[in-house]
C-alpha cells in the first residue's frame, strides 16, 4: 500500500467522519461490484467471506435430477431444477449481517417464495411453520408470521444499524444469484435467502441457509393419539383430548407448585369400559365399583396398574397434558398420570395406552341383549331430583346424595339478574353418573310446577359450569346455565330427561 495514498485516505476519512459515527461494521461488497471498487485490504480481511462468483450453466441443460424435497402434512413433492424454474419466480435483493457484525451487501436472487411452496402442499396456518433442512443436516424453522408477513429484523447495509421500519421481506428458495445459477460447490443447488425489492436492507445471517435440499411444511404442535382399550378399543387424538380438558378440566399441584392439568382418569375409563363410547359419556360406575385393573402404559412399555374402584370419580387422579399451562416435556409427553396418593413410580409419563382389564364386548351378544332387554325400570319415588331418558342408569338424587358428590361454587351471570354466586353439582357429573346413551341430543328440564325447557346436550357439555344448583330450601334445586338463555335457568327443577 502506498504510504501517501494511505495518508490521503486517512485525511479524507477524518474530514468526512465529522458527520458519521465512530465506526461502522465490516462491509462486504456484492459480487457484482467491480473488484476495483473495493480496497484490496478489505478483501484481505480475514473474517471477510467474499460471495463466490457464480458459474454460469447453459440454460438449456437444466437438470432433471431431484434437488428439493417438499414435505407437507399429507404429501411429498420432489422437484428437479427444471420443475422449480417452472414455478412462478420471485426476485429481489438479499444481503446479510453476521452475528459478529460483518455485512454482506445485497445481491440479486431469483427463486420460489416459501409461501408459494407451502401452498403446493396445503398452505400454512398460524400453528404451522416451515423447516428448512440443508444437505449436512443443519436445519432451521421459519414461523407463519415470518413467511407471510416478513417479520425479520432488518439492518442498514451500510451502517449496520437496526432499521425501525423496513420494506417487505420475503423468504425464497433461490436458484439464481445475479442472473446465474448458484455455485454448486459453495452454495449447493439451492439457497434460502430473505429478499426485498431494493438493496437497501440486510437481514440476520442465520436466516440465510445454503445447500438447501428439503422444505418441510408442518404443524409446530406435535400430534399424538392415546389408545384406550377395554370392552372396546378406541383412540383419542390430541384435539379430542384438548376438547375434553376444556369441558372437564382437572388439576393437581405438585410439591414444587407446578399445576398439572388434564382429565380425571375415570372419565377416560368411560371411553372403553363398555360398548358405549359416546363422547366418553358412558362411564360405568357399577362396573368400576365391582372392580377391574386399569393399566396405564408409556410408549416405551413402562406401566402402572391401579384398581378401578380407587379411580372411580377420583378427582385427584389426573391424566395431565399440561404442566403450568405448557405441553409436557419430552420425557413425559404427551400425557402423564399424576395425582394425590400416587407413588412416584406410578406416575407414568409418555402415556400411549390406557388398558381396562374388562371382558371384551361381543357385538352379536350385545345386539341380542338389546333386542330382548326390557326397559330399565327404576323406582325414583324417594328422590327429589332424577335423571331419566336415554341413560344407562336412570338415577334419582336427594339433597344428601347430591351433596356427597363434587360440590362446586361458581360465579355466573344470569341473563337478566346479573352476576351471583351459585353452589351445586356440575351437570356433566350427573350425566356421567347416569351414562348418556349414543344418539342423545337434547335435555329437557322439568320444574315442580310443570314448566319445562329444552336445551341442546352439546351446548351443555361445552359449558363446564352448568350446574344443578342448591337453593336455600333443602330438596329444592334450580338450573344454573351460564351463557344460555334465561328460560333454561329452571327453578324448582325436579328432573332432567335425556332425549
Amino acid at each position: 500500500m502506498n504510504r501517501k495514498l494511505f495518508i490521503g485516505l486517512f485525511v479524507l476519512v477524518f474530514v468526512l467522519a465529522g458527520c458519521q459515527p465512530a465506526s461502522v461494521p465490516e462491509v462486504e461488497a456484492p459480487v457484482e461490484e467491480p473488484p476495483v471498487a473495493e480496497p484490496t485490504a478489505l478483501m484481505e480481511e480475514p473474517t471477510a467471506v467474499p460471495e463466490p462468483t457464480a458459474i454460469p450453466e447453459p440454460t438449456e441443460e437444466v437438470s432433471q435430477e431431484p434437488i428439493l424435497e417438499l414435505i407437507g402434512p399429507d404429501s411429498t413433492i420432489s422437484f428437479s431444477m427444471a420443475d422449480l424454474k417452472a414455478l412462478p419466480a420471485t426476485e429481489g435483493m438479499a444481503g446479510i449481517k453476521s452475528s459478529t457484525g460483518k455485512i454482506t451487501l445485497p445481491n440479486k436472487f431469483k427463486g420460489v417464495a416459501l409461501q408459494d411452496l407451502a401452498d403446493l402442499v396445503g398452505g400454512l396456518n398460524e400453528s404451522m411453520g416451515v423447516n428448512i433442512v440443508a444437505e449436512d443436516g443443519y436445519s432451521l424453522s421459519y414461523s407463519y408470521d415470518q413467511i407471510l408477513n416478513g417479520t425479520y429484523i432488518a439492518y442498514n447495509p451500510v451502517s449496520g444499524d437496526e432499521l425501525k421500519s423496513h420494506d417487505a421481506l420475503t423468504a425464497i428458495v433461490a436458484y439464481e444469484m445475479n442472473g446465474n445459477p448458484l455455485n454448486v460447490d459453495m452454495d449447493g443447488n439451492l439457497r434460502l435467502v430473505i429478499i426485498s425489492k431494493d438493496g437497501n436492507q440486510v437481514t440476520d445471517g442465520h436466516w440465510s441457509i445454503k445447500w438447501v435440499d428439503k422444505v418441510e411444511v408442518r404443524p409446530m404442535i406435535m400430534d399424538w393419539v392415546l389408545a384406550v382399550n377395554g370392552a372396546i378399543d378406541t383412540e383419542i387424538d390430541r384435539a379430542s383430548f384438548e376438547s375434553c380438558v376444556s369441558c372437564h378440566e382437572a388439576t393437581w399441584t405438585d410439591d414444587v407448585g407446578q399445576v398439572w392439568k388434564g382429565v380425571e382418569l375415570w372419565r377416560l375409563m368411560g371411553y372403553a369400559d363398555d360398548a358405549v363410547k359416546h363422547e366418553g359419556w358412558s362411564y360405568d360406575v357399577k362396573l368400576a365399583k365391582a372392580g377391574y385393573d386399569v393399566r396405564i402404559a408409556a410408549a416405551d412399555g413402562f406401566d402402572t396398574t391401579v384398581w378401578s374402584d380407587d379411580a372411580d370419580r377420583n378427582h385427584d387422579w389426573v391424566v395431565a397434558m399440561l404442566v403450568d399451562d405448557a405441553p409436557l416435556e419430552e420425557k413425559n409427553f404427551p400425557l402423564k398420570f399424576v395425582g394425590a396418593g400416587l407413588e412416584k413410580k406410578q406416575m407414568v409419563g409418555g402415556i400411549a395406552l390406557i388398558e381396562l382389564m374388562v371382558p371384551a364386548f361381543e357385538e352379536a351378544a350385545e345386539e341380542e341383549v338389546q333386542e330382548t332387554e326390557p326397559a330399565v325400570v327404576v323406582d325414583l319415588s324417594g328422590s327429589a331430583f332424577a335423571v331419566t331418558g336415554m341413560v344407562k342408569t336412570p338415577t334419582g338424587f336427594t339433597e344428601e346424595s347430591l351433596r356427597a358428590l363434587d360440590v362446586v361454587t361458581i360465579t355466573a351471570e344470569h341473563p337478566k339478574s346479573g352476576s351471583a354466586e351459585f353452589e351445586g353439582v356440575r351437570l356433566s357429573d350427573l350425566l356421567d353418573l347416569a351414562g348418556v346413551k349414543d344418539g342423545a341430543t337434547t335435555l329437557v328440564f322439568t320444574a315442580d310446577d310443570g314448566f319445562s325447557s329444552e336445551v341442546s346436550l352439546a351446548e351443555v357439555l361445552a359449558i363446564p359450569d352448568c350446574l344443578l344448583g342448591f337453593t336455600e330450601t333443602p330438596g329444592k334445586f334450580k338450573m344454573v346455565m351460564p351463557g344460555l338463555p334465561s328460560n333454561t335457568w329452571v327453578k324448582g327443577v325436579v328432573s332432567i330427561e335425556v332425549k
Binding site: 480475514p46 457484525g101 415470518q146 440476520d204
Partner: protein, 388 residues
C-alpha cells in the same frame, strides 16, 4: 505482510467501510457498536469460508476459529503473535461456539485452532467425531484457559435502575414497561445462559415464580420451565418469536443487544462481564449462584438444563447444562499446521498473552488444566497440568 500490519488489517477496512457508508448514506445517524464483539452461536453455512491452507507468499496461514466474545482480545493476541512470528499469518474467524466446531467436524475445513466459550462442547462434538482422513477423533485433548461471568448490562438511563439490586432484578426485568433484550438461545450461548439465570435465581431462593413471571405468555410458542427430582428443565421451542405486545426483544446475537442498549432501545440485557467492560457499559454483578462463574457451585449449577425442542445440527444433541463458564482451546486433528498452532497456544498462555487478555478485561486462569493431557503435544504439556 506490511510494515503496518495492524493498521492494514484492522483500520483500512474500517476507513473504506466508512467511505462506502458515507457515499451510500451520508450523515445518517447510527449507533453501531464500535467493534464487533460477542457472538456465540451463529450463523449459518452462509458464513462458511473456504480458507486456503496453502502458504501465502512466505507466510504460513494459521486459521483460528474462535468464540465471538474473544474478538477484541484475540485481535490483540493476533497482532502481537504475528509481530513475534512474522512468518505466520493468523486468519481468525469468530462464530458461536457450536458453529466453530461444526466448521471442523461437519464442514471438514482446514482449521488449526479452535477456541470455544464452552469447554464441554469439545468432548461433546470433537471427541465424538472422527476425522475421516485419519480415523482419529477430531480432538482428544483441550486446555481450559479462561473463564467469564454473566452480568446484567444496563445504561444510566435504563428504567428502574435506581431500584436494581442483585435481589430485585428478576422482578424489574419482568415489568411490562421495561425493554429487555434476549439473545436468541437457539443461536447464542448468552441466550440460553440468560434463561438459566432465572432458574438459578429461583433455585437459590427456592422461589419458583420468577421464570414464569418473566417468560410466560411472552412467546407465540411457549418457553417452559419444568422441575422434577431436583432438576430444572427449560425448553426452547422450534420457533421462538415474541407476541406483539411483549416487552422482550429477541436478537440473533448478544452483540446486537449492546448496540440497542447504547441507543436507548433497550433497558437491560444479560451479557458477559468481559464484553461489557470492553464496551464500557454499566452492569449489575449477579450473585455467584447465578453468574455461572464459581467452580465451587458446579454441583448447584448442573441442576439446570436448557433443551432445544428440535435438532438444529445433525451431530449436536441440543441440550446445555449449566456449569461455570469455561473457555477451551485445542488443535483439531485435521489442522494443516499443528506445530504453528502449538506456538499460538504457547503464546496465548504465556505471560505476554496473559497480559494482553488481562488488558482486555478477559483474564486467563491462574493455571491451565488440560483434559486428555497424555494426548497433548509435549510443548503444551509443559505449560499445563492434567485436570483432576
Amino acid at each position: 505482510m506490511t510494515k503496518f500490519p495492524y493498521i492494514r488489517k484492522k483500520l483500512l477496512p474500517l476507513f473504506f467501510s466508512m467511505l462506502v457508508g458515507m457515499s451510500f448514506g451520508a450523515c445518517q445517524p447510527t449507533n453501531s457498536n464500535p467493534e464487533p464483539t460477542t457472538a456465540f452461536a451463529d450463523p449459518t453455512p452462509v458464513q462458511t469460508a473456504q480458507i486456503s491452507a496453502t502458504k501465502v507468499g512466505a507466510k504460513t496461514p494459521l486459521v483460528v476459529f474462535a468464540a465471538g466474545s474473544l474478538i477484541i482480545p484475540f485481535a490483540d493476541i493476533e497482532s502481537a503473535f504475528e509481530a513475534k512470528y512474522p512468518d505466520i499469518d493468523v486468519r481468525a474467524e469468530y462464530h458461536g461456539s457450536i458453529q466453530v466446531m461444526r466448521h471442523v467436524t461437519e464442514l471438514h475445513e482446514p482449521i488449526d485452532i479452535v477456541a470455544t466459550a464452552d469447554a464441554s462442547l469439545v468432548p461433546m462434538l470433537m471427541y465424538a467425531t472422527n476425522n475421516p482422513d485419519t480415523g482419529r477423533p477430531y480432538a482428544d485433548w483441550f486446555i481450559r484457559f479462561a473463564g467469564n461471568e454473566l452480568v446484567l448490562a444496563y445504561t444510566p438511563d435504563s428504567r428502574y435502575v435506581d431500584e436494581l439490586t442483585s435481589e430485585t432484578w428478576p422482578q424489574i426485568l419482568s415489568l411490562p414497561d421495561i425493554k429487555y433484550g434476549l439473545p436468541d438461545p437457539r443461536f447464542d450461548a448468552a441466550g440460553y445462559r440468560a434463561m438459566m439465570a432465572f432458574a438459578l435465581q429461583e433455585n437459590s431462593l427456592e422461589r419458583y415464580d420468577l421464570f414464569k413471571g418473566m417468560y410466560k405468555d411472552q412467546f407465540t410458542f411457549p418457553v417452559t420451565i419444568f422441575r422434577e427430582d431436583g432438576l430444572t428443565l427449560i425448553r426452547i421451542p422450534e420457533i421462538l418469536e415474541t407476541k406483539s405486545e411483549t416487552h422482550i426483544l429477541i436478537r440473533g446475537a448478544s452483540v446486537f443487544l449492546i448496540a440497542l442498549l447504547q441507543s436507548g432501545d433497550l433497558d437491560y440485557a444479560f451479557e458477559y462481564k468481559s464484553v461489557i467492560k470492553q464496551h464500557g457499559l454499566e452492569m449489575l454483578e449477579l450473585p455467584p449462584e447465578v453468574n455461572l462463574s464459581a467452580e465451587e457451585l458446579r454441583d448447584f449449577y448442573k441442576n439446570v438444563e436448557v433443551r432445544l425442542d428440535f435438532q438444529r445440527f445433525s451431530t449436536v444433541d441440543p441440550h446445555f447444562i449449566a456449569e461455570p463458564i469455561e473457555y477451551a482451546v485445542t488443535i483439531p486433528d485435521s489442522s494443516p499446521h499443528p506445530e504453528k498452532a502449538e506456538l499460538f497456544i504457547q503464546f496465548l498462555l504465556s505471560d505476554e498473552g496473559k497480559a494482553i487478555m488481562q488488558r482486555n478485561y478477559h483474564p486467563l486462569l491462574a493455571s491451565f488444566p488440560a483434559n486428555g493431557y497424555v494426548n497433548m503435544p509435549a510443548s503444551l504439556q509443559a505449560i499445563t497440568n492434567p485436570e483432576e
